[in-house]
Amino acid sequence: MRQGGTGVALPPPSYVLPAREKVILSIAPSALPIGMRAIEKRFGSVSVLRDLNLDVAAGEFLTLLGPSGSGKTTLLMILAGFIRANAGSIKVGDDEIITTPPHKRNIGMVFQNYALFPHMNVFHNIAFPLKQRGVATAETAQRVEKALELVKLQGLGERRVDQLSGGQRQRVALARAIVFEPRIVLMDEPLSALDKGLREHMQIELRALHRRLGMTTVYVTHDQREAITMSDRIAVMNAGRIEQLDKPETLYAAPKTQFVAGFIGESNFMPVECHDGTVWYEDRRIHTATPAPAAGRHLMVVRPEKLRLVTPTEPSNGINVFDATVADIIYQGDSFVCYVSLRDGRQLTLRDYCRGDVLARLPAPGQPIRLGLEAQDTILVASEG
């Protein structure tokens, strides 16, 4: 699944969704896929989204990840119907919804600031979508109760919104977005207002809830760690385009552009030359696992944890070895970070866990060392200047 797809229905992703543990709500019998084609959006003369194409599989948890201004929130708002695109098509299942007003889209949404109705208590907030759909009072009460149970807020229905903690509000917003069994749920940085511990906890809960209910979910965040933790797939957005759409592990292991490599995880970038099917850093031949790309200047992405300290006696056949000097070493409890300088002055970062054998030969600042990098851990991307 690539941007610029043909518009032909695509096969479901190769990974297998975990089986639903238990159907709590009589959730949408079948979650629906979303297909976005050639979405264009300009604000005045500023182009925010350019020829954007994106398919979300039924039941998938897909994250739009990017820095602010990348267009991810705009795309979500267009999906929800709050912003009108200048051109394009959005299909949910077989239905075109690009001109459907928001209240007829049947899409649940969790807002960044939760957007709970301050004049209603928890119960009425959650019952709101059911009321709009004319659900009977008794059934409403039942479904709200179940939704509250699902987000672990049993018995808090009569609370006023301003009596809730941030985390509780988040859960109410979530309950309200799913109680009417939408086929699609959108989330706009729903955890960004929570503190770190609670955020990580909610990430796991959200993920679990998604597995239980299986609704197609589009999630927006600028936090790459959050994206990696929760998503089936991540669309990395930059300047109104999708740079790369892949599973988290693929994105991490095989970023296709310098931007993606830089945005997902930590990276060392080393400029390399390619010619005659070989790759060179300065005057050193780099061993790579994949065939060298076209001739010219490229960037080699080196993840800090893929670098390791090599003993002077260790044979260096098949691996890339660099001579360097330790600039500083920072102990972080479970791991340490080592800042080193290559002979040409290039700064690299190395990270490793504090295992006994590593700790035993931890170098001191100023000490010359050798760095090893396996051929399979080299990643080459186009140099973006």
């Binding site: 929800a80 209240h103 301050p118 209603m120 208590n121 709101f128 309200r176």
Partner: protein, 308 residues
């Protein structure tokens, strides 16, 4: 001596309390005293320009023109039917004008709140502009527009819509038009301010959850704008009760409101107490109404609805 050692010594001295509890309490007291000192100018003002004069007014109302303690100033309301009439007229006008302000002001404030910031501030200038003209001038302007040979009647007659001029001035309708014009900003400004604080995401959430534009307005926007509407309504209503110039000029002597009656009474009886009694009655009834209003809103707040 370092601060720390001073603290230690205090405990060593056997104060018998938790560490520094006394010093911390004193500090808290000093802080509230400082706050009180900050408040004192406004407290003094409130006392000097509100509480003292009202107390004096009440005191005066208890004496007749010979200076004897007497209920005659109050008895007059029951002896003379026209006082009740005036009282009813006053509240009738206040209700009608407040209603007219709500009908005109709510859509206006709503429109203002939906406009882009720049356009809204330009329109707001037009809302506030009448404030810079005196009430007298505006009232006369309405007279020019509404009277028998005024603009409206001339146009309507020229257009052949009517053959006899309509009675728009020198009666209740003139008073209502004039007062509504003057009081409209007092409703629009607080209402607009409260509408601006309504989170757009709440409205989006409403639509997202299946409420159409009308339902979103009715179930979310309107209830959230109620606090602003309530304060606007209270301001307009209370100001209405004390109106003098506009009803005096636009009412043609046929719409006599309480403040006009106060003026009449004070000059007729050569006795402050006579007018003061009218003031006291108006004050008490107004406070009672506001209390009722609060109670009604409060009853809502404890139910399903809650104020922010």
């Amino acid at each position: 001596m370092s601060a720390q050692s001073a603290l230690l010594e205090e405990t060593a001295g056997g104060v018998g309390e938790h560490l520094n509890a006394q010093a911390l309490r004193a500090d808290a007291r000093r802080e509230s005293l400082r706050l009180l000192a900050l408040l004192s100018p406004s407290l003094f003002l409130v006392c000097a320009i509100i509480i003292v004069p009202i107390g004096w007014l009440f005191w005066l109302s208890l004496f007749d023109e010979t200076g004897a303690l007497s209920a005659s100033n109050y008895a007059r309301f029951f002896e003379q039917a026209s006082y009740i009439k005036t009282f009813v007229t006053t509240f009738k006008v206040a209700f009608i004008v407040t209603g007219a302000c709500v009908l005109l002001g709510y859509p206006l404030a709503y429109m203002l709140s939906q406009l882009p910031r720049r356009a809204a501030s330009i329109c707001l200038i037009f809302v506030i502009l009448p404030f810079w003209t005196s009430v007298l001038v505006r009232t006369y302007a309405w007279l020019v527009i509404l009277q028998r040979k005024g603009l409206i009647n001339s146009w309507l007659i020229d257009l052949g819509v009517i053959s006899q001029p309509l009675s728009l001035a020198n009666n209740l309708s003139g008073v209502v038009v004039g007062m509504t014009h003057i009081l409209l900003p007092f409703l629009v400004l607080p209402l607009y301010a409260s509408m601006k604080t309504i989170d757009t995401d709440c409205l989006r959430a409403g639509m997202n959850l299946g409420a159409g534009p009308v339902a979103t307005f009715r179930q979310i926007f309107f209830p959230l704008s109620l606090p602003g509407l309530a304060s606007g309504v209270v301001i307009v209503f209370v100001l209405c009760l004390g109106f003098f110039v506009t009803p005096a000029l636009m009412g043609g002597g046929k719409v006599v409101m309480w403040a006009m009656r106060m003026e009449q009474t004070t000059s007729l009886y050569s006795n402050w107490g006579a007018g003061a009694a009218l003031g006291v009655v108006l004050l008490v009834v107004t406070l009672a109404l506001l209390g009722l209003f609060r109670w009604l809103l409060g009853a809502r707040a404890t139910g399903v609805w809650s104020s922010r």
